[in-house]
């Protein structure tokens, strides 16, 4: 078995990454980690994860393909390999998900040389945590509904408004921020900023509590916040187009640096293990044929996602270049949700138990994962919007809105 398309350097890099990860597995976390970066709540979790991302970055496993001038390692085709190995090694996730999968690619595409040199290094090393300021109360999935305003004043912009759904906002140094700079044109009246957050005058970050009772995402209020024009990304009025770059980067980031480590391939094994320890109608759930069928359905979807990722890189087997990449957000978020829902069903009455209950199966993972799964089916364009996008951009059907 050969790795058909890899260069010798890439093959060598894979070996290096495997070896490094074996030798540098991080110590156990000081407290239980959440399932994804957007649920990081405590300073203890943050410090541990920031430290881990820095180590990976320093080892060349993060920012591998970014130019050296912007803090990267200047390679080609290394990052995907690094991500695969990060996933395989089952190490903790990289905390700076917004910086890695949204801010950095957007700045690389739309930024000035100076912006690239200033902002990208901190995204990669994880030293500067980013958050996203796209969602507003009442604006939902329709980016063009943005009402947070930015008004030019000499070399600055004065920002006023209110963003919600801001994961990691409580730890963020920067925000990618979409504002309204003109009321006359819904789509061409938006402008995109790289906005300072932590400690910046007029910015208030208020944690929102999720349905699980956990925090981890926030409301951010802007009251006469001064943002230098140097922090504007691309032209005035181009905000919508820049935001599309961000969203596409995120949707395509399945195998991007943002998802290194974390859940996914072990989900099915976890379900099987749960079923081995749960009872149903006098037998172990793992021996109940209806439960077995349900678990295998999940396994097939999971393997399908993996193989989609593989097929997306074989042009001869992809009729439309965006057909598989644009499915990623929809399918991955529903895969996780359906897995968690099945776990709740298998756990039966024990799924009633919160994570602090000592009898909770798998330390309460399943009901929490189920509740949290709605974060991913709603955020970054609800899955209803994802289906519109796929129907319109891939299948070419007329626009629904």
């Amino acid at each position: 078995m050969t790795e058909a398309n890899l260069t010798p350097e890439q093959l060598e890099f894979r070996e290096y990454a495997q070896r490094w990860l074996e030798e540098n597995a991080p110590p156990p976390p000081p407290e239980r980690l959440p399932i994804t970066p957007i649920e990081v709540m405590t300073v203890g979790q943050r410090d541990y994860l920031q430290d881990w991302q820095y180590k990976c970055f320093a080892a060349g496993l993060v920012g591998a393909d970014y130019p050296k001038a912007y803090g990267g390692h200047g390679h080609t085709g290394f990052q995907r390999i690094a991500n695969q190995e990060l996933n395989r090694a089952q190490v903790p996730f990289l905390i700076n998900i917004v910086g890695l999968s949204m801010a950095a690619p957007t700045i690389l595409h739309h930024g000035t040389e100076e912006q690239k040199r200033k902002f990208i290094p901190g995204c990669l090393s994880g030293e500067e945590i980013w958050c996203q300021g796209f969602s507003e109360p009442g604006a939902g999935s329709d980016l063009a509904n943005q009402r947070t305003s930015a008004v030019r004043e000499a070399e600055d912009w004065i920002v006023n408004g209110h963003k919600v759904w801001t994961s990691l906002g409580h730890f963020a140094k920067w925000m990618i921020l979409v504002t309204r700079t003109s009321k006359d044109d819904k789509y061409n009246g938006l402008t995109y900023f790289l906005c300072p957050i932590a400690g910046h005058a007029g910015v208030t970050v208020r944690p929102l509590v999720k349905i699980t009772g956990e925090t981890g995402f926030n409301e951010v209020f802007f009251e006469d916040v001064r943002v230098p024009d140097a922090n504007r990304l691309d032209d005035v009025g181009k905000g919508w187009a820049v935001a599309m770059t961000t969203l596409l980067a995120e949707r395509g980031a399945s195998e991007g640096a943002g998802s290194g480590g974390g859940s996914g391939s072990s989900a099915i094994a976890d379900l099987i293990e749960l079923a081995r320890n749960s009872w149903r109608d006098g037998v172990l759930a793992v021996d109940d044929p209806v439960t077995r069928d349900a678990i295998i359905q999940r396994a097939i979807v999971g393997e399908g996602l993996r193989q989609n990722g593989r097929r997306a890189r074989v042009a001869a087997l992809c009729d439309h270049p965006m057909r598989l990449p644009l499915q990623q957000k929809l399918t991955a978020s529903e895969f996780q949700q359906d897995n968690a829902r099945l776990g709740v069903e298998i756990a039966g009455a024990s799924a009633s138990l919160y994570k602090l209950d000592p009898r909770a199966p798998d330390a309460g993972h399943w009901p929490l994962a189920y509740l949290n799964s709605y974060g991913n089916t709603i955020a970054a364009g609800t899955n209803e919007i994802q289906r519109n996008i796929l129907g319109e951009r891939v299948l070419g059907l007329p626009k629904s809105k």
């Binding site: 969602s135 759904w165 999720k210 109940d288 039966g348 009633s352 138990l353 509740l371 629904s400």
Partner: protein, 396 residues
């Protein structure tokens, strides 16, 4: 499957039952609004989730409910209750579900239905206590969370003066609100049902740490709890529980139907008001059609619920089939509307503050309680098709 077409066409849900239900609806609408619910159980997640406090409930309101006689609904008139039909009770429990009312109503009604099925002198005395306002709960579930009436969580030994109970009953609903427990214990070949006071010696309660904010749940440890003969409800506990089981399923189904209808209506109202892409989101078929599908599922569950109640009230042989169908349909309808309610509300529905999660979690809890849809359908297959391997042709 073969309900005679001569069953009462109105499910026995006549003017009296409608009046009772409407009074319950009115009272709860006035006294137990959504904002009151949120304030009561979800002002902050910390007390319950981080510090393990039991969720709050409205004890003054409960006192009034007791005075109105709701706890005696399933108690016969001879024991001082109102002897309302299960159809009538189902209508009222739907209202409790619709308001996500934290209360020992369902556990107490469940206990009284088991006592009625026991039909013993001890049971009648206990029913009179319930009619007088005592709350109760069932301690009949074992470590495995089995929903088999014959799987008792406790062991009973005879010490000459009575029985001694040993073991742990799991998943006892609203245990901390119950004045007395009906416990099931294995005694040799028999399964005995015993009444246990909440302050009995040897009894201790370990609060479960649960997601649902509208109830409590406990593991109840019986460490040598003595049962005098006058507290033995039945020595044929398995058949008593089995005969009460359809009614127990029906109560949980009613709660699910009520809460699910609330979620549907709340989401419909939101879809009318919330504007996206210049339209109320209810304009979009991706919102409209799932809500219609949820309505269809809820209506199916609700029709099966009142069918089950009517079958049980009529003492029909089809009661178990009807009740298991109702619970399967209600569990699945609840799962679907809970899911769509959160999803279609978008970001706001994902916040603690908005409160949708209170219903979501109550439903999730009730979906599993007494067995989910898959469990009910397994039982139904045995009833309607016959056990596996019974088809008379040699398999192989």
């Amino acid at each position: 499957m073969n309900t005679p077409i001569t069953a009462p066409r109105d499910f026995g849900f006549g003017e009296d039952e409608a009046m009772l239900r409407d009074m319950a609806r009115k009272m709860l609408s006035e006294r137990f609004s959504m904002s009151r619910l949120r304030e009561l159980v979800a002002a902050s997640p910390e007390p319950v989730y981080d510090h393990g406090h039991r969720p709050s409930w409205d004890e003054p309101l409960w006192k009034e409910i007791v005075e109105l006689g709701w706890t005696g609904l399933a108690v016969g008139e001879a024991e001082g209750g109102s002897g309302v039909s299960l159809a009538g009770i189902a209508g009222m429990v739907e209202e409790a579900g619709r308001h996500a009312l934290p209360s020992p109503l369902v556990p107490t009604l469940s206990a009284s239905l088991v006592l009625r099925a026991a039909d013993s002198e001890v049971a009648r005395q206990l029913l009179a206590r319930v009619a007088g306002g005592a709350t109760a709960s069932l301690a009949i579930t074992n470590e495995r969370g089995s929903w088999e009436p014959g799987d008792a969580p406790l062991n009973a030994t005879d010490d000459g003066e009575g029985l001694v109970l040993q073991g742990t009953a799991r998943f006892v609903q609203d245990a901390f609100k119950a004045d007395l427990l009906i416990a099931s214990a294995r005694a040799g070949e028999d399964l005995v049902l015993c009444a246990v006071e909440r302050d009995a010696a040897g009894l201790s309660f370990e609060a479960d740490h649960i997601h649902d904010l509208t109830r409590d749940q406990a593991s109840v440890v019986f460490d040598g709890v003595k049962i005098v003969p006058g507290a033995i409800i039945s020595r044929e506990g398995a058949s008593v529980l089995r005969s009460a089981w359809p009614a127990l399923l029906t109560l949980v189904s009613a709660d699910l139907c009520g809460a699910s209808e609330w979620l549907l209506q709340a989401t419909v109202e939101y879809a009318k008001e919330r504007v996206q892409f210049d339209r109320p989101i209810g304009f979009f078929q991706a919102v409209k059609h799932p809500l219609v599908d949820a309505m269809v599922e809820i209506d199916r569950a609700r029709s099966l619920l009142f069918h089950a109640a009517a079958e049980i009230d009529a003492g029909s042989a089809g009661a178990e089939v009807a009740a298991r169908m109702a619970k399967s349909a209600a569990s699945d309808a609840a799962a679907f509307i809970s899911d769509r309610a959160i999803q279609l509300h978008g970001g706001i529905g994902f916040t603690w503050e908005y409160g949708l999660h209170i219903y979501f979690k109550r439903n999730l809890h009730n979906q599993a309680l007494l067995g989910d849809g898959v469990h009910q359908r397994k039982k139904l297959a045995d009833l309607l098709i016959g056990p596996v391997g019974s088809s008379g042709i040699l398999n192989g």
